[in-house]
């Protein structure tokens, strides 16, 4: 099988997956054999080709659960519709909350899905489902979307991390940590929780010369040990150390001060804006998956005041990100997912809040592989139920994988047991795909 986004020249016609398939066949047990197998360090040309066409994801994670009624599925005029009006968008007939005027003007790359029924309104388990596309089972720890992207789109020996997660707020962080599950630490997330600089990315206590020369000596000694010993665990150990200097050299990717003032102003001087800008820098450099967590959406009280404050920020950051990606030619290959663990109840509680609600809520997919300027599905008049096009997390994920060119039926192997990316029989939503 040839990688769809791979450059066509014959000397590069060794596709990653093709390599993998043969490797897996040779190994007999396919378990974990198919990790990215193109040696990027050895062939910068291949790396550039790949990077130009590699699919990427930026996920805007609205932790706590943003209200669909104050964002993408407004219901002005119904008793629980809240105080905000809806406005027309660039697509005739589609209206979103008046709190999102910028997204209303640039809906062309975005598909709004208004028919999620994910059946779970508990923060922790809902976050697990929405990061994985399924609940899982007791003895199988499924990888999340970031880890799958790291595995599918990360390049061996890559100079950049494969999976970066910004999650600075304390609220809900423990509910949805990045998790590589059975794929293992190789595909785990680089978490930025306390600062914009990743842990252990800066040299400390050793001068530059010693730092690099001891790494060379390490490589030499490990090489002696490796002779005559074959094991994928052993390879991964040396690969991990070989990636250190490249990742360190790329620390500047996290430094948005390196962006022109004009760009920084565009994203705005909020934490969310700054992290979204860092995400764009990482995306541009070839990081396959970046999540930007924006918390405090869990508005059990004062839902409208909170949304009045937070939705315009989301509108600003999301629209700026899409503009910027488009201007750089990146949106074609980058899928921006705006998602939470669930939405919020149409009913309004006694503290003017909305509570957890997973029965009829919204998400958006923008950019890569998506039919923009559209809406899929419909909630009923009150917003209590899905009236049309009901989907769960599984179909959302099948759609996401398809938009990225990853076969959603692809299997990973746990020992001899095949584990498909999505549960068998799950179909992507054609209407959402370009």
């Amino acid at each position: 099988m040839k990688l769809k986004n791979f450059c066509g020249s014959p000397e590069h016609a060794v596709s990653r997956r093709g390599f993998l398939t043969s490797l897996a066949a040779a190994a007999g047990t396919a378990a974990f054999a198919d990790m990215s197998a193109i040696q990027v360090l050895g062939s910068p040309e291949v790396a550039n080709d790949l990077r130009a066409n590699q699919k990427r994801v930026i996920m805007l994670w609205l932790a706590g659960g943003a209200s669909q009624m104050e964002t993408f599925d407004p219901k002005p005029g119904v008793p629980t519709g809240g105080p905000f009006q809806s406005i027309a968008t660039s697509t005739p007939g589609i209206r979103i909350s008046e709190l999102m005027p910028r997204m209303a003007r640039r809906l062309k790359d975005t598909c709004i899905i208004r028919s999620l029924n994910t059946r779970n309104a508990d923060h922790g388990s809902a976050a697990r489902i929405m990061m994985r596309g399924r609940m899982g089972e007791p003895s199988v720890d499924y990888p999340d979307l970031g880890a799958v992207m790291a595995r599918e789109m990360g390049l061996e020996g890559s100079q950049v991390p494969d999976y970066v997660s910004f999650y600075t707020a304390t609220e809900g962080r423990s509910m949805s940590p990045g998790s590589a599950g059975f794929l293992g630490a190789r595909y785990g997330s680089m978490d930025l929780t306390t600062s914009m600089v990743p842990e252990n990315i800066r040299r400390a206590g050793v001068n530059e010369q010693d730092h690099s020369e001891r790494a060379e000596l390490r490589d030499q000694l490990s090489g002696m040990f490796e002779r005559g010993r074959t094991s994928s665990s052993l390879d991964s150990h040396n690969q991990a150390y070989r990636r250190v200097s490249g990742i360190m050299a790329n620390e500047q990717l996290f430094d948005i001060e390196r962006e022109p003032q004009r760009i920084r102003d565009r994203y705005g001087n909020t934490l969310f804006g700054r992290q979204a800008l860092a995400a764009r820098r990482l995306c541009e450099a070839g990081v396959p998956f970046i999540r930007v967590g924006r918390a405090w959406w869990d508005t059990h009280a004062q839902n409208f005041e909170s949304h009045q404050e937070m939705v315009p920020e989301l509108d600003h950051v999301m629209s700026t990100l899409l503009d910027d990606l488009e201007e750089r030619g990146l949106l074609r290959n980058t899928l921006v997912i705006t998602l939470a663990e669930f939405g919020r109840t149409p009913s309004i509680n006694s503290t003017v809040g909305r509570d957890h609600f997973a029965s009829a809520w919204s998400t958006t997919l923008s950019g890569c592989g998506v039919r923009g300027g559209t809406v899929y599905g419909r909630s009923d008049e009150s917003g209590n139920r899905v009236a049309e096009g009901e989907i769960g997390a599984a179909r959302l994920f099948a759609t996401i994988y398809r938009a990225l060119g990853i076969p959603h039926t692809k299997n990973y192997y746990l020992g001899a047991r095949p584990i498909p990316l999505t549960d068998p029989g799950t179909e992507p939503i054609r209407e959402v795909l370009a």
Binding site: F32, L217, R229, H237
Partner: protein, 545 residues
Amino acid sequence: MLRCFTACSFFLFGSSLAFAQPSAQLLPADRSIEQAVDHYIDAKLKEDKVTPSPRADDAAILRRLTLDLNGRVPTVVELQEYLASTDPIKKTKLVDRLLESSAYSRHGAQTFYAFMQYSEGRPRKGDKGNPLYDYLLSSLSENRSWDRIFREMMLPNEADPKMKGASDFLKSRVKDLNKLAIDTSSTFFGVNVSCAQCHNHPHVQQWTQDQFYGMKSFFARTVDSGGFLGERDFGVVKYIPNKGAEKVSPILFLSGKKIDAPGMKDPTGEERKKEQMRLDQGKKAKAPPGPPQYSLRAKLVETALAPENREFFARNIANRMVHRVMGRGLVMPLDQVHSENPASHPELLDWLARDLADHGYDLKRVVRGLVLTNTYARSSRWEGEKAPDERLFAVAQVRPLAPMQMATSLKLTTADPQSLPTDRKKLEDRIVALEGSASGLANLFPQPTDNFQVGVAEAMLFANNEALQKSLLAGVGTLTERMKQEPDLTKRVDLAVRTVLSRPGRPEDVQALVGYLQRRQDRPDAANQQIVWVLLTSAEFRFNH
């Protein structure tokens, strides 16, 4: 209505090796474990015309045994003594000493704890104060038999405070009976029945939906009762099969043995009242409720251990112990021991299962037998063209260290070797203290899986975390301080290699390391630290080989 969330088609090995059918004729039961293992492994090698790799050298054997049996690498003095000894049975003596050490139970408890928690691949959670870990530790300390551990975990006596941890396996799963059935079956019988939850197994004829619900039925009456485990007198599992109407699941063991139990019909009001009173009495007294008139869990234990059904229980532990010692089971994966996934050496699996059952499921005895085999003692290096199929056990496996093995060994090897007591008893005490101080460090490393992949975060941690480097490489009482006292660079490097890699220096690595020190004569202290860093971060340290 249950939906199938899991993909259950099974990939079967396109077998390049022809596996023999198990024969009724096994080697006699009076053979030693060593003899039986080597007999079957060698026979298969001969049949496939593969010459296994040679015996590993003494230093490699010492390191492997110390890691496998005591969860740490050997000290410089232990290495010196072992290499110097000309005693023809020094290996056996070493094995017996390691098995007698209290570290054997601690390391064993870590290993069992990890697999019972299904924590492979996840960041390690501390064992501190975990009742299940404590229970496993005390069980292994007195070499409690595996069938007794099984019985105690299935039928825990919660009134006995010392047995508190035995109930943890059930208690942590009692709110999810599916999980309880699946984990019990995987842990103790080597069969993951989760596939059969949704449909009959596509490839394994013997696995039907009844198999899953049948196993679940043994736990159908198990409930949380005021923080204690209770078992009701009534209760069945009902399910809607793929074809047909809702039915009551039979109580069915994996072997096909059906259990006729009372309490399958709906209880009368009177009976229900009586049952509730029994549970309420416990709650009121803040004590475990009294036992039911008929315990399904007790029936599970009885059935699983009965000679005619015990093959699941016995094969599972035999396979898991081979995996623990050799780094690979006779059947892989460990929870897929079924007819369509044959063992690499079916007769050996049967022989070991019988041997375990005949000898009261003595775990220490089987570990001892396995580590004394020639199979265990092979080199992990393959000099030929292409390494043979792993299923032949022709080459020793290279295995990543588990979190506590890694952390304890880091602490031990970076300490000044002369600061370690040479007296065995005192060294044991020091190791206990080291393990205590290594526990936090261990949480930085994930529990390895069978195809474990090291993440870049680990390399970044070692490369750039200043606190970690300082604690390991600098200051009073460290190896690098001792290295300063040795003016001869070759001897200094040899000391570092012996300490960290548990073997004498070899010309090629000594040369490279001495060269490095010579180029750094303007900053010798830093150079010593970097030498130790290089050794600690080499694959040779990170793996058991």
